[in-house]
């Protein structure tokens, strides 16, 4: 039996979280800001993560265009308690990851790229 798209997305997000220590939560969101799949803690409001993640990437992308920075490759927000990493998955979806401060950024970016490639094959 072929797993559902939802199950496939969940498995890819799970692999990503397991391969990079300190990734706390992940979500795949449409560019409309609507959550497609997520692995978020119960205290995180899924709707808000979706809406804000899509808005942040959209604003960043437009800023990049306006300020002649070329195509947006990723958005990394650094806070005192950790990072928010946002990347587009093709034209219609994005990946949002909540990451602890202790993460190795090189490893995070490398595995994120692999994760995006896998997600792109499904979406």
């Amino acid at each position: 039996m072929v797993p559902t798209i939802s199950a496939q997305l969940d498995a890819i997000l799970n692999d990503f979280e397991r391969s990079v220590p300190h990734v706390q939560a992940t979500a795949v969101v449409s560019t409309d800001g609507l959550v497609i799949a997520s692995r978020l803690p119960k205290d995180v409001e899924e709707d808000r993560i979706g809406a804000m993640g899509a808005a942040i990437l959209s604003i960043s992308s437009r800023s990049g265009d306006e300020l002649d920075r070329g195509e947006m490759t990723r958005v990394l927000i650094e806070g005192t308690n950790g990072y928010i990493l946002i990347r587009s998955i093709g034209e219609f979806a994005i990946l949002v990851a909540l990451v602890e401060k202790e993460v190795r950024l090189g490893m995070l970016f490398y595995e994120c790229k692999n994760c995006i490639e896998k997600l792109s094959e499904i979406l």
């Binding site: 449409s30 409309d32 800001g33 709707d47 809406a51 808005a55 959209s58 604003i59 437009r62």
Partner: protein, 168 residues
Amino acid sequence: MVDLKKVVIERGLNPYHSFFASFFAGLGELGMLNQGSINIVAKRAAEYLYAYLDAKEILPDLNAVPGETKAELIKNLILYVNKILSMVGEYDLQDAGDDKVVLLIEGTTCRICPKGVGGAAVKGTLCPIPSLLESLINLIAQKDMLELITTGIEKEGSTCKAYFKVLS
């Protein structure tokens, strides 16, 4: 590109419609608004509107709202909300089976659409109506009566559709 004169006249816009639709269109074009954030913001707006109706003492008495079934009651509550906010011209609420109803809006008569009225050049939808109605009607009913199933609005030709579950 929206033919503004045509939209203003044919849809019977008032200045608030014009402001609302163009303001949200601008935010959408800057990338600050998407359907997900519209859904969240519309819920907040519903809470404010409920407080407004309460303050003005114009909340409907549920016992006086006609309707033999829950779907009819919801239809009449939507009629009431639309009379106050004047959001759309032509619309209908139809039974969709399995305790579901579908709201059908004739898009060419909508007065608050950030795209059709405000002219937002964005992909996807920016419709506040389904989420606003879900929250406001549940607040008026003082219980969960309606649950939005679709994530926003679905376009089918000029018709905008939103599906809701009628909760028992």
